[in-house]
Symmetry: C2
Subunit: 389 residues, 2 copies
C-alpha cells in the first residue's frame, strides 16, 4: 500500500425528498446570497426548480440564477458566472444538476476569489488558492463530482477539454436523492454507470504494491454497479438500484477506490480528447468504447491484475491468467453492449481519418505522454483509437 | 436503502513516517498551544514520544502533557484534563495512542468548552454543543475512533462504561502509520481485529431494506481483515497486513459500513457491561466471546442474512439458509480462536453467578432494553451471557 492522504469533507444528505431541505441546510451555514447554477431547464419541467426555490425562499436566501450550463461545460459560461458572482457578492454556489453543472460551479467558485482567468486552472497556469463554498443537488449519477476534487472544463476556442484537481473543488454538502434520477434516459443512465465504473477501474489498473482492502472495495462497487445497471435497464424507477448507482458514483470518485494506489486516469485522458473534439459524444459512451480497447492493449503488462478483475468482478473461472484477463475484458464489453453503449468510435459518426487528430489532441500536439502501465505516446494512443474504430 | 447522512471530515495522513509531520500539520491549522494525551508510557519506550515532541517543538508549538490514560478511559482522568485544558487555554487536543487515548481526548475536547460535567455526555444529561479540535497519531488499529463520532468512557464510581456519539467527536486529522503498530502484541492485535470486524458486523446484522452496495463493502472489509489477521499471527511486522488492518479499522467505524442501514451496535452494549464491570477484559476479547453467542441467539430471526454472511465472507457453500447461517457462525468462532481469542466468559476468570449482574448492568438495572432483531430485555441478555459462559 502506498502512502496516501484521504480527505472527503463533503457532507452527504442521501435519500428521498432531501432536496427540499436545501434552504434549511444553507441557512444553517449562514449564507444569505447564493448563485444557483443549473442546466438547460429540465429542472423546471420536472418540478425540482420549484421545490428548490420554495425551500430557499422560505429561508430568506437570495438567489442569483445562472441557468443554461451545457454538457461538457464551457469556460465561456464560467467566465460570465464568475463576473456575476463577483458583482453580486455571492457567498456560495449551489449546483443543481449533474457533473457538468457541478464542474461549472466548481470553476466559478474558485474563479470568484481569483484574479486570473478560470482557464488558467485546467491549463496549469494557476492553482486555486481559495474558493467560495459549493453545495449541490445531484440529478445524475455519473461524474462523482459531488464528492470529488475534480472539475473538467471545455474551451471551445481552443477545442480543448481539460480537468484539474483541487481541494477547493470539494463540495461542502451534496444532496443526493435517487428519485431525482428516475427520469434520466436509459442511454444517459448507462453512460453514468460506465463513468462510475471507469473511475473505479482507472485506479484499479495501476502498477503499485498490493492493496487488498482497496481492491476488494473497488470490486464491490463494480459488482454493485453491474447488478444495479441491469436492473435499471428493465425498470428505470427501481429505487434501490437508483440509490446504489448514485452512492456508487460518489464512492467511485471520492478517492476511496484509490487509497494506497497510483492514480493515473489514463483512459479519461483519451476520452477527454474524444468528447472535447466531438461535443455530441457523451463522456460515458466515449469511455465505454475506449476502456475495452485500452484494456486489450495493456493487459499483457499485468495479466494477473486483469485476471483478478475477471475472476472477482465477472466470475470468470479460467485458470490461466492471460486467458482469464481476456475473458474479463470481453465480459466488460458485453456488459457495456447490454446496457446500450456503443462499442466503436465509428458509431459516433466520426471518420476514421480523425483518429490521428484525436491522438494529436490527447498528447497536446505530441508534447506529452499519458502515464499508464506504459507511457502512452502519440503512436500508442493512435493505435488505441484505431483499435476501437 | 434507508436515508442517511454521511459526514467523515477527518483528514487521514496514512503511511510510513507520517507522524513526523505532526508539527507541520498542526502549524498549518495555526494552533500554538495544544494538550497531548497519551497512555502509560509505551510511546516513550519506543521512540514515538521523542519523534512527536521534536516535530512539535520544531514548529514552535507549546505542549501541555497529560500522560497516563488508562485502557477503558476513566472519567476521573478526563475531568482533570478538562480543568487543565481550561487553565492553560489549550487550542486543540492531540491524542497519541489507541482508542482509549482518543476517547479520553474527545471527551476532554468537548468538556473544555462546556460548563457541565463530562459524564453528563455519556449519561445523556447534556449534549456537546462545541469542542476543541482533535487530532491523533494512531498506535493501535481497533476502535476506529480516529474517524468515528463515538467516544466511550468508564465511570469507576458508578461501575459504568457508556458511549456517546457527537459530530464534535470527529477528529480534524488522523495520522495513521501502520509501522507504529508493529509492536502491538498478538493478543491486542487480535482484539483490535475483532473490534473492527464487530463494528462492521453490528451494522450488517440489522433489519432494513436491501443495501447491496453497503453489504458488499462490508463483506470486503471483513474479508480483508480476516486475511490480514491470519498474516499478522504469523508475521507481526508484515507492513501490508498492518496497513490493511489499520485502514479497515477506520472504515469499519466511520459510518461507511452503515450507510442506508439501521445502526444498533447491540453486541457492543453487552460488551460494555462486561468490560465496564471487569477492567481486565479487553473490549475486543469481550466481543469475540459475545458475538458468536449473540449470533446463535439471533440467526433464526433472519437466516437469509446470516447465510449471506456465511457464503460471502466465509465461503460457506451450504444451500440451506439456516444451516449456512450456523456454519458461518462456526467459521467466525473458529477464526476468533485461531487468532488467540477466548471463546467463553469463564476464560476471563469470572464466576458464573456474575452473569445476572452483567445483565443487570447492561439493562441499567432492568430499566432499558437493547435493540437488535428483537428487543433484548434482561432475560434475553442474561441468556446470552450464560450461553457464552
Amino acid at each position: 500500500m502506498l502512502d496516501f492522504t484521504y480527505y472527503t469533507p463533503t457532507k452527504v444528505y442521501f435519500g428521498k425528498d432531501r432536496h427540499k431541505q436545501v434552504g434549511d441546510i444553507i441557512k444553517e451555514y449562514g449564507y444569505k446570497t447564493i448563485m444557483m447554477q443549473y442546466g438547460k431547464g429540465s429542472i423546471k419541467a420536472n418540478g425540482l426548480y420549484d421545490d428548490v426555490m420554495q425551500s430557499l425562499k422560505a429561508n430568506g436566501i437570495e438567489v442569483i440564477e445562472m441557468g443554461g450550463v451545457e454538457p461538457n461545460p464551457k469556460v465561456s459560461f464560467v467566465r460570465k458566472a464568475v463576473q456575476l458572482a463577483k458583482e453580486k457578492k455571492v457567498e456560495m454556489i449551489l449546483a443543481v444538476g449533474g457533473g457538468s453543472v457541478l464542474d461549472s460551479s466548481k470553476a466559478t467558485a474558485a474563479g470568484a476569489l481569483a484574479d486570473c482567468d478560470v482557464w488558467d486552472f485546467p491549463s496549469r497556469k494557476a492553482t486555486p488558492q481559495n474558493a467560495l463554498p459549493i453545495g449541490c443537488i445531484l440529478t445524475h449519477s455519473a461524474a462523482g463530482s459531488e464528492m470529488s476534487s475534480s472539475a473538467v472544463l471545455t474551451n471551445t476556442e481552443l477545442n480543448m477539454k481539460r480537468g484539474y484537481n483541487s481541494e477547493f473543488n470539494r463540495c461542502k454538502f451534496a444532496i443526493c436523492n435517487p428519485e431525482l434520477t428516475f427520469s434520466v434516459s436509459p442511454y444517459q443512465t448507462a453512460c453514468g454507470i460506465v463513468d462510475s465504473m471507469a473511475h473505479t477501474m482507472e485506479r484499479y489498473f495501476t502498477l503499485c504494491p498490493p492493496t487488498d482492502l482497496t481492491d476488494r472495495l473497488s470490486e464491490s462497487i463494480l459488482q454493485a454497479l453491474i447488478a444495479a445497471g441491469r436492473t435499471l435497464m428493465q425498470n428505470p424507477e427501481d429505487y434501490e438500484a437508483r440509490a446504489t448507482v448514485m452512492w456508487a458514483s460518489s464512492l467511485s470518485h471520492n478517492d476511496l477506490t484509490g487509497c494506497g494506489r497510483e492514480n493515473f486516469l489514463a483512459v479519461h485522458q483519451l476520452e477527454h480528447a474524444l468528447s472535447g473534439e466531438y461535443d455530441h459524444v457523451a463522456h460515458g459512451a466515449g469511455l465505454a468504447v475506449l476502456f475495452p480497447a485500452w484494456a486489450r492493449y495493456m493487459y499483457k503488462e499485468n495479466p494477473a491484475r486483469f485476471a483478478q478483475f475477471a475472476r472477482r468482478v465477472w466470475n470468470v473461472t479460467e485458470a490461466d491468467d492471460e486467458k482469464a484477463a481476456l475473458a474479463g475484458i470481453v465480459c466488460m464489453e458485453n456488459f457495456f453492449k447490454e446496457i446500450g453503449m456503443p462499442l466503436t468510435i465509428r458509431e459516433f459518426g466520426i471518420e476514421k481519418s480523425a483518429m490521428d487528430t484525436l491522438a494529436e489532441a490527447c498528447t497536446f500536439g505530441r508534447t506529452r505522454t499519458v502515464k499508464s502501465y506504459i507511457e502512452m505516446d502519440y503512436e500508442v494512443i493512435k493505435d488505441i483509437f484505431n483499435n476501437c474504430y
